[in-house]
């Protein structure tokens, strides 16, 4: 294999990591609070706001139901406004982030559901404010579940990022399609797939390790 080819593969790997990293981090920063809000604004919960909860839930569901490839194309004007272009890895990171936020939010909400309501009641009895309950009880107690959710998100983003090639996004998926499929180079296709498998394995192992470390049950 030529060194040009190796460089291409390296660059594509870095691009994929970049897209997954940027969208994963931003989606975590926005998705975790959204997940907490989805949980905490439910009727009977610590900051019960049933109407706001319904609205958030609908928005989240809409975000979750649009197929990624359509979302990517549909928000091109928004992407252009945000990063000045609609092609390249920065542009691809925008729809990846938008898709990942509601995904993270629902997984975080699910992790919070696993926290025993008795713990919230105990904290309330101690005079904890809703914010203190979130910070000192809910997030620490759900930490294992949240990390599991973020791991699933990272793996999903790796797979979504492969579709980013459709809008000139770059990365391993793009490489696999353009060189492996369009130019009939099964070697490139195989290498792309192997790197993706290793990457997913890496994310999963890291996630599992972090969950084990945070789990005291």
């Amino acid at each position: 294999m030529s060194s040009a080819m190796i460089n291409l593969i390296l660059q594509a790997t870095l691009d994929t990591l970049y897209m997954v990293g940027v969208s994963g981090v931003i989606a975590t920063l926005l998705g975790v609070p959204l997940g907490v809000l989805l949980y905490a604004t439910r009727p009977g919960q610590i900051i019960a706001m049933p109407v706001a909860n319904q609205a958030l839930s609908i928005v989240t569901n809409v975000g979750r139901s649009i197929p990624f490839i359509i979302l990517m194309v549909a928000i091109i004007p928004f992407t252009r406004m945000l990063v000045g272009t609609s092609i390249g890895i920065n542009a691809a990171s925008v729809p990846l982030t938008i898709a990942a936020i509601p995904f993270v939010a629902r997984l975080v909400e699910g992790a919070l559901n696993e926290v025993s309501p008795g713990l919230i009641e105990a904290a309330q009895a101690m005079g904890a404010t809703p914010w203190q309950i979130v910070r000192k009880v809910l997030l620490p107690e759900a930490r294992g579940g949240i990390i599991t959710g973020l791991t699933i998100t990272a793996v999903t983003l790796v797979s979504y990022s492969a579709m980013a090639g459709a809008v000139g996004g770059g990365g391993l998926g793009d490489l696999g399609i353009r060189y492996g499929y369009n130019r009939f180079n099964p070697m490139i296709m195989l290498i792309t797939v192997i790197i993706l498998v290793v990457m997913v394995q890496g994310f999963q192992s890291l996630g599992d390790y972090l969950v084990r470390r945070s789990d005291r049950k």
């Binding site: 904290a123 101690m126 107690e141 945070s214």
Partner: protein, 347 residues
């Protein structure tokens, strides 16, 4: 110290309304241990949660530490809750915090500096006997140890009142005993007022000063523990007491009981005696003074607070006139005499 007046709590409305509490009045003076006993679904949980407003009463007022809780706005309510500790049936410890950090939690919530936590938390762990478990996590502790951590946590904010929500119901009898002893010590040494809810008479008997009986959301009986155990005023109170004492005549005897006396039967009586009567040799005197022999079928002596309670099921052997005189004699010595029925002589 704790004052509930006309407290009602209704869930839902209209035809579906569930009345968890109806017009509850409860007054608990400082330093006392007050028990509320009732069957499941009677409203015990709702009652105790109305004290710190985890449940907001639909009507009525709740005053704790001289503050009318029901009038407090959110920030003031949280402040007031710092002065009310609470422990739970299932302990509710944070699984991701070790023993030290669990006990430190209420202090953190109150804004204590990290550095000052040590001098507050360690003496509490010593008090509950867990100073060797500081770094352990709840999953590594037994049920009794978890409840001890929960007690230390509840005491961390130096509350004037401690609420115990079925605190021993998930524990075995031996551990229950040691937790109750700890609660009594805390009440004694720190002067904390304790309100506890339970379905176990044993808990009431061993640590409470006063007890209320709750049924269908109403407090139907409210008495000093000694009085409640010697003479419950309500039918439900008697059911609880008899279940607890497990003193009912043997089935074989019950089958032979007849309602009306005649010349060929003896009365079978249940005698309840307390105070001085326990120390008096009444049974032998019966034989001497009334010519009645007593055949004891079952007997039990319990000591409740500083009082002794005796229970006996006995057959009185003598002529009808003699046994009637014997019963009057017993009643004149402050024994409670209940005639359960009459049995045929064996001769």
């Amino acid at each position: 110290m704790i004052e509930l007046s006309n407290v009602s709590k209704t869930y839902g409305s209209g035809a579906d309304a569930v009345h968890a509490l109806r017009d509850v009045d409860l007054h608990i003076p400082e330093g006392r241990i007050h028990g509320v006993i009732g069957l499941s679904g009677a409203g015990k949980s709702t009652l105790i949660r109305c004290v710190n407003l985890l449940e907001r009463p639909t009507a009525g007022s709740v005053t704790v530490n001289g503050q009318e809780m029901t009038r407090l706005a959110r920030p003031a309510l949280n402040q007031a809750r710092h002065r009310i500790g609470m422990i739970f049936q299932h302990f509710n410890l944070l699984t991701t915090r070790n023993v030290f950090d669990n006990v430190a939690l209420p202090l953190e919530l109150m804004g204590h500096k990290r550095a000052s936590l040590q001098q507050r938390v360690l003496p509490l762990l010593k008090l509950v006997g867990l100073d060797d478990k500081v770094q352990q996590f709840p999953a590594q502790l037994s049920g009794g140890q978890k409840q001890r951590v929960a007690i230390a946590r509840a005491l961390a904010s130096e509350p004037a009142v401690l609420l115990c929500d079925e605190a021993t119901s998930a524990l075995d009898p031996q551990t229950t005993g040691s937790i109750l002893e700890l609660l009594r010590d805390i009440n004694h040494t720190l002067g904390i007022t304790i309100l506890l809810i339970t379905h176990e008479m044993e808990v009431v008997k061993s640590i409470c000063h006063r007890v209320s009986l709750i049924s269908d959301g109403r407090l139907v009986e409210d008495a000093e523990v000694g009085d409640f155990f010697t003479a419950p005023a309500t039918q439900l109170g008697r059911v609880f007491l008899n279940d607890f004492l497990q003193l009912s005549p043997p089935q074989e005897l019950v089958n032979r009981l007849e309602d009306t006396p005649d010349a060929r039967t003896h009365p079978v009586v249940r005698l309840t005696f307390s105070g001085d009567a326990v120390a008096t040799p009444l049974i032998s005197r019966l034989a001497r003074e009334c010519g009645v022999d007593v055949s004891i079928l079952q007997a039990k002596v319990e000591s409740i607070q500083e009082r002794t309670l005796g229970l006996m099921i006995a057959e009185l052997l003598g002529t009808q006139a003699q046994t009637e005189q014997a019963m009057r004699y017993l009643e004149s010595h402050d024994l409670k005499v209940e005639v359960l029925g009459h049995v045929q002589r064996d001769d």
